[in-house]
Structure formats: structure tokens, C-alpha cells
Symmetry: C2
Subunit: 333 residues, 2 copies
Amino acid sequence: MIKTPYLLFLGDAPDQLAAKVAQGIRDWRPDNAVGQLRLPGCGADVRLPDMTLEEARAAGAETLVIGVANRGGEISQKWKAVLLEAMDLGFDLASGLHNLLRDEADLVEKARETGRALHDVRIPSVKYPIANGEPRSGKRCLAVGTDCSVGKMYTSLAVDMEMKKRGLKSSFRATGQTGILITGEGVPLDAVVADFMAGAVEWLTPPADEDHWDHIEGQGSLFHISYSGVTMALIHGGAPDALILSHEPTRKHMRGLPGYDVPTLEALRDLVLPIARIANPAVKVVGISVNTAGLGEEEALSYLAEVEARMGLPAVDPFRQGAARLADALEAL
Amino acid sequence: MIKTPYLLFLGDAPDQLAAKVAQGIRDWRPDNAVGQLRLPGCGADVRLPDMTLEEARAAGAETLVIGVANRGGEISQKWKAVLLEAMDLGFDLASGLHNLLRDEADLVEKARETGRALHDVRIPSVKYPIANGEPRSGKRCLAVGTDCSVGKMYTSLAVDMEMKKRGLKSSFRATGQTGILITGEGVPLDAVVADFMAGAVEWLTPPADEDHWDHIEGQGSLFHISYSGVTMALIHGGAPDALILSHEPTRKHMRGLPGYDVPTLEALRDLVLPIARIANPAVKVVGISVNTAGLGEEEALSYLAEVEARMGLPAVDPFRQGAARLADALEAL
């Protein structure tokens, strides 16, 4: 578990897109961040107060989060002075970069000296159990996609936020690096050893109050041959009560797989339900989330109406329209 | 890749069952073993010549394989003298035990001194790629089970042996520790990191002659919630042309999961086919292998006849009847 609140380190991010981890924290857990720290030439701004390390410590910040992705996932030498000073001032460090904090000798030495923690959120820090498949109390919702990167995390965060607004018991359960940095905890599922994947998801979604909803961050797709095993473990470890189907209608082929067509929402529904029933016979598909970023407003609304009529389920773009109708569907379950 | 031939170390195995790895090597790759080495009190015998380390070296043995499982998977102190002497005499060591050769300081020191290799076959030794899903030449067959441990490995080894006997091009592709020790190579799939599972299976089953068959060792079951993600990666990474359904008719519930019923062969067929078609639209179920060890001869034969009529596919117990009819079905494809 990463200590909050954070100071978000944007470094010398060339543009806003490079700061998407920081933006995610800002959008979904604004209380987790007291400010941003930018180096000269930084082209990103997540609209938080600019702070020095000292100012952020005075404002209560506990962890400096590297909220930026750079070419090759490296820990830039330009950043090192800030990271070292941060530990001297009492910050832990957290990063989702490919290159690990723990592989940088100077950072490791400083962390040892100062007693600070280095959190590499791509690497599991827990010895997960083998899944035991025992039913547990509480409700679980999982977003499953026709493809990878179609908005599953966004959907789950939006539904979680909507349920919290309504005063309902709700948690977002992160299974990837961005989600883990946003919430400060979770399982980096794609880095877990095969035999323990489903057990890691059970561990992440423990028994809870009967009226509590876990919104489990999806990964991959049953139709994406590179990562379908991870999706399978999420479905069987999560044993969801509710599924939300996620789709991106303008994609020409499966992400990174030019020879593979994106399936229809019907094909996804027909494949996922028998799989999900193995772990939870009562599972229902409750709604559809569509990432319509590639469509104009009118086109998006008519596409959503068509999907809704065709599938007989609420179909929304949570970014354009909010997640209220998806939360309604979960409440009605 | 583990150097063959082997000397099989049975240690102080209390009974025959404890030597099942050695027995597997003896049954399926007799040319891979020159003899067995037993300590006083050993209750197992795989019917190979008893040899000292020196005799086995003289007979050409390159690797001492720990062909025995003991309580807790430990590397017994009683064994250490033999293992150390073996390296002095020029043997590599190979083990599938939970406790690793590489974690024993005295073995590591001796291996360094003598330049010998320590093979812990539970641990991946290759940096596997992410699966790319590109079609490749050659044919692939995968056994999928209604549950774990229903005879998938045995089935694939038996079909491979039958095809080799007929002079056909055929390889058994090991994905678990016993299979890897039997053949000297393979992928310990349950220990591979999630993102690379399907890529490891692609790596294991590369492009081959169009009339060559890979028989991929199955793992887990789509219906076993603890390991279904591993099975999924095998199906999508292996992209099999042919599937053999494997079943054990006397099992009361899924292995280790008292709350889960074993599915029917029809349910397995109906779930696996749409999943397998994602990676290989031409995939066919070609036959059924049933482990009838729990049935008497007459009962077994009548059960197999009933399954064959019901499913419209050859149904055999490869242990009782050999795998000829399954090989016929593959040849006919």
C-alpha cells in the first residue's frame, strides 16, 4: 500500500499525454494529490498547485509519484536529483515505469539510508495464494472488452465514483499500474506468475458487506490471444455478479494483431457468460460501455441508441454521459 | 535443454508412486535413461539397470535427474553426498522439486567449481515473447480436460508415440515439470509471468513442416477456476488444429474445489470450440480420451462405447487401449 497523499512528479513531460498517470490520479482521486512538481521545459499541467518538495511535505505529502511516462520507460538522469532529495525530505517514491526504481543503485542506497520505501507498481509485492473458488459475501462487477484498451478502467472508475456519490458502498479494485497509482493499492496482474493469477484476484476482492460493490479493473480481452489468459483469471478469480461489456466501435482490428477482427458485442456476451457462470452461476450482463471518442456527438448518440436497442441493455459512453445508468443497473440487480 | 541420456536418481523413495517422474521417463523416453541409482531403503524400482555414478558415466550418462518426489519437495540431506559427487564426476543435475537446486549453497558452489549445470525445471530459463498470433506452418494438437489431472499428458505422450511408430513427424511439447524432465525440454507454463504465457506457448510450438504434429501438453481446465487462465493461454498460444477432450468419469467434484461439479464432455466441447476458433478458425475436436483407471474392464468398455455413441467421436482410454484411434483421427484431418 502506497502512502497518500502524493506529490505528482511530471518531470520534463513533453506533452499532456505523457502525464496520463498523473492526470488519472487528478481525475479520479483528487484527494490523493496535494500538488504537482514540474521541471523546466515540462509541457504537461494537471491543474494542481505547483509545489516544491518542501512545500508539498509541509502540505502533508507522503509519496512522490512519477506520474509521467517517457520514451522507453526510463528513469531519466535529469530526474535523479529530485528523487534523491525527495527521500532526504521524507518522501517515499512510487513508479509504474518499465525500468525499476529498485534497479537504480543510487536510489536504493538513498532509500536504505533514509528508511524510505521504493514502490515499483509493475512488480507484485505480495505472495498471492492459489485461488480456492469459495463464494464470498459482497457484490462484484467486472468490465470485459471486445479488445484491449477500450475503456474498461475508465468505466469501472466512473461507476465507482457514481456509486460513492450516491452514498453506496463501493471500491475500485486496481489490476494495472495506472489503477494502482490512482488508488495506492492493487495487484499488477500482468506480472503475476500464471498459477497465482486467479488467487491474486480473489485476494484483491475479499469478502465484504452484502451491499458493497467491488469494481474490478479489467485487463486484456477473451478475444485477444496475447492476453486472454489474464482476462480468464480475472473472470474466474473475481467471480463477478455483474459484467459490463466494453467496446470501441472504430477499431479496425484487434490491438497489435492485424490479422484478427474485433468481435461483436453479441459474440463477447455469448462467450463471456458461460465462462463467468462457472465461477458465479448468477452472473448477469448489466450494461454496455462504449468509448465513442472516435465519433462525433450525433454519430455517438445514434450508435449508442442502436446498440441499446439491439442488445436490450443500457449502452452509454461514461466519458460523454457519465455512468449513472450503469450504476442504476447495478443497484437494480 | 537438459543433456541426455540420464541416470535416474530414485534416492530413498518410500514407494513406486514417489518415483513417478522416473517412471514417466522410463515409460516414454527409455532411450533417455541408461540406469537407475537407488539409496539403501529405496522402495521404488523402474526396471532399469542399477548403476553407480561411475558406471553410469561410463555408459554415457550426462545428467543425474532427481526422479523422485518426497514430502514437501525438499532436497534431502541424505541425497547431498550423491549430488555433489555426481558433479565431480561430470554430471549436470536436473530437478522438478519445489525446493530449488539453485537455493542450496553447497550445490551452487560445486556447480561453479566443476562447471556443471543445475536445471530447476519449475523455473523458466527463457525470456519469452508476447504472443503475436501469427499463423504458423505445421499441425498442433492439444488435450483439454473437464478437470485437472485427468490424463492429458499421458494422452499426448501416447499419441506422439503412436505417430512416431507409424513413421509420422511428431513432437511432444512439454508444459509441466514431469513432461520437461521426460523430454529434456519445454516450458514450465504455470511459473511463467501472466503477460508472457501465450507467447511462451507460441515459442514452444514454432513453425514446422506442414505434415508435422506438435502434441502440446495440456494444463489445468477451462472449468477449473484456479488454473483456467493457464489453459486459456495454451489454447490461444498453441492455436491448435485439433483438440482431444480428456475426462475422468469417477471424479466427484473438481480437483481441490469441493463446491464445483465436473462438467460433461458436451459442456467442455461447447465451451472450448468458440474459444479455440479465435486463434484457429479451422480447429476440430477429433476424439476423446477417458482415464478409466477407476472402472473395471467391462464397465470401462461400456462407458467408452456410450461416450463414443453420444459424442460421435472416437473415445478411448489410451492406457488400456493405446492411442491408435486418436492417431487415426489426426491422420484423417
